[in-house]
């Protein structure tokens, strides 16, 4: 249908192998044992893709082959031509890779596990920006990509290029905002512009219109305006979304970075890029779906924003006038020592207080006393999918003691102590009973069914992200432990020891 010279078969085969390696990388994540091998498959796939491309771009031109009077290129001729054709570019490329590698490796080594959500957001923004740069490079020099004839870019390629640039730009600016919110440089509170839905839909329509226009007219203003508008819409889309909805946002941006790669893969007719783009795109989409389901909210309502800031002020003092019980670290230690089984329910507050190590120490001491210890994780606990699991793993909690909501929820009724640390809305029984509650219908952990609930909280004033009071605080079997999560756990450890 279109497009320049086809790549040699071995090149296409190599990209296919790379794509298969990426599939195996994700497949490996079905269990922790196979995951490390999966990651190595991913690295191998990337190495194959990069080396293949480097070979292709540095392969001697037809002129050199004809001058040498050969059909096939020998190894010596290859190196000779690399030097003769002055591929100093290769040195520059090596330099660019080296710079990126150093920055990437140092960051990966130094980053605190609690900062993983912002790191992932930052990485997403880089993929987005890289996609925009590649689209722009393809636009400026289409011959190099074999997508133009006589200076005219093929219309199909224009659509792909326009989509790649637009999705890349949205991924970039959206991820930058997500990063700033997660990193605390920007308040987690939703920023609500007047008429924002009209503005956003209008901008999106304008971008699509420009992409359509681009097929008729490849004038620079069309390309740059649509890219510029895409940067703007990425920014506008994320500012109204509150901190607690960040797990959905991060997953969604993950998905976008995949679609951007896929769009560029169409332009370059590269199967590795297309396969990867489809994998990453569906991965992010599925994670967003899982997060939305775990909050009983529709994707549209999350994207529309305005829900749940970080610091929702205590809604009305009236509620806190209800009687509640306060306990001390000694009380908690005593109760748990007597228990047969304790289920620990961690949430974002544990990450903020960096309490995971102290928590594991507490768990170890309890196990020495013969108490069964398990961990229960709600899908949206924390700021990104699987956030709590990583933190517990970091603190050396064996993963077979960590359970997902549906696997452990029935056990609370048979448990002596539920120990809630830094989680709030995901334990609120009102989600099951109170039809007027904003979180009604959200699947929650049935902690109130345990004989005793120990609930660590900084003070009685604040409420959860959803801005609703938690029924749990006032129940007869709940004991509130008011303190910083880490300090409280450390004190409990002392009392246990």
């Amino acid at each position: 249908m279109h497009h320049g010279p086809a790549a040699p078969p071995w090149v296409m085969l190599a990209y296919l192998v790379a794509g298969v390696c990426f599939i195996l990388a994700l497949r490996g994540l079905s269990s922790p044992e196979s995951s490390r091998r999966g990651n190595r498959f991913g690295m191998a796939g990337m190495a194959i893709a990069v080396l293949t491309t480097l070979l292709v771009v540095s392969y001697p031109s037809r002129g050199i082959l004809e001058a040498a009077g050969v059909e096939q290129c020998s190894v010596s001729l290859y190196f000779e031509s690399c030097l003769r054709e002055g591929l100093t570019n290769l040195a520059w490329i090596g330099g660019a890779i080296a710079i990126g590698a150093v920055i990437g490796l140092v960051t990966a080594r130094r980053i605190a596990m609690t900062a993983m959500p912002q790191l992932v957001a930052a990485f997403h923004s880089l993929v987005g920006l890289a996609a925009v740069l590649v689209a722009a490079a393809a636009y400026l020099n289409p011959e190099a990509f074999g997508i133009a004839e006589g200076g005219l870019i093929y219309p199909v390629s224009r659509v792909e290029m326009g989509l790649g640039a637009a999705i890349g730009a949205i991924t970039f600016s959206g991820s930058v905002i997500a990063f700033l919110k997660l990193n605390g440089n920007m308040s987690g509170k939703p920023i609500l512009l007047p008429l924002r839905h009209v503005i956003n839909l209008g901008t999106l329509a304008a971008i699509l219109g420009l992409i359509a226009w681009f097929t008729q007219d490849q004038d620079p203003w069309v390309f740059w305006t649509l890219t510029g508008l895409a940067f703007l819409i990425g920014f506008l889309l994320i500012i109204p979304i509150g901190g607690a909805d960040m797990p959905v946002v991060v997953s969604m941006l993950n998905s976008y970075s995949g679609w951007a790669a896929a769009a560029m893969g169409f332009t370059l007719q590269n199967s590795a890029m297309i396969i990867t783009g489809a994998l990453v795109g569906s991965s992010g989409a599925i994670l967003s779906y899982i997060m939305c389901r775990a909050m009983n909210r529709s994707f549209i309502s999350v994207i529309a924003g305005g829900f749940g800031g970080d610091a929702v002020a205590g809604a009305g003092g009236g509620a806190t006038d209800r009687p509640w019980k306060r306990g001390s670290a000694e009380d908690a230690a005593f109760l748990m020592k007597q228990a047969e089984q304790v289920i620990i329910v961690p949430g974002y507050g544990m990450a903020v207080a960096q309490a995971q190590h102290a928590l594991r120490e507490m768990g170890d001491l309890l196990k020495k006393e013969g108490v069964g210890v398990k961990y229960a994780i709600h899908p949206v606990a924390g700021r990104m999918p699987g956030h709590m699991n990583v933190l517990l793993a970091e603190a050396n909690v064996p993963y077979d003691e960590v359970f997902e909501l549906e696997d452990i929820n029935s056990e609370f009724a048979r448990t002596d102590v539920a120990f809630v640390i830094g989680a709030n809305d995901v334990t609120n029984p009102a989600a099951k009973t109170d039809k007027t509650s904003p979180i009604y219908g959200m699947p929650v952990l049935d902690v109130e069914k345990a004989k005793t609930v120990l609930f660590i909280k900084r003070s009685m004033g604040g409420v959860g992200y959803a801005g609703v009071d938690n029924e749990l605080f006032y129940r007869d079997n709940t004991m509130m432990l008011l303190a910083d999560a880490k300090k409280m756990v450390e004190e409990i450890v002392k009392s246990l020891g």
Binding site: L26, R27, S31, S35, V57, V134, L140, N141, L268, I274
Partner: protein, 98 residues
């Protein structure tokens, strides 16, 4: 490859992605995001082509520089993404049997 061939690869890969990702254990969702992030940097392929292209025109040399910048950005992601995933996965341990 014609457009339909490419589209077929894409659509089938979406289905593969759908089933593979649903089989990922929720405990590994954070490493999943980190590794998908790393592999989406395969966009580096496009960046390399742009960076290595001969540049005679002005647009061509701008294109080379954009390509080089994209190579650097994608490399941060490739090395950082795989390294941080490896670091996380190394932490997942089973209970020690006694």
């Amino acid at each position: 490859m014609d457009f339909i061939t490419i589209l077929s690869i894409f659509v089938l890969a979406c289905f593969v992605g759908y089933y593979v990702v649903w089989s990922v254990t929720p405990a590994l969702h954070t490493p999943l995001m980190a590794v998908t992030n790393a592999i989406s940097s395969v966009i580096v392929v496009g960046a390399l082509i742009a960076a290595a292209a001969a540049s005679e025109s002005l647009g061509g040399s701008t294109s080379t520089w954009l390509g080089l910048a994209a190579v650097a950005l994608a490399s941060v992601n490739i090395f950082g993404g795989f390294a941080v995933t490896a670091r996380m996965l190394a932490m997942y341990r089973k209970k020690e049997r006694r």
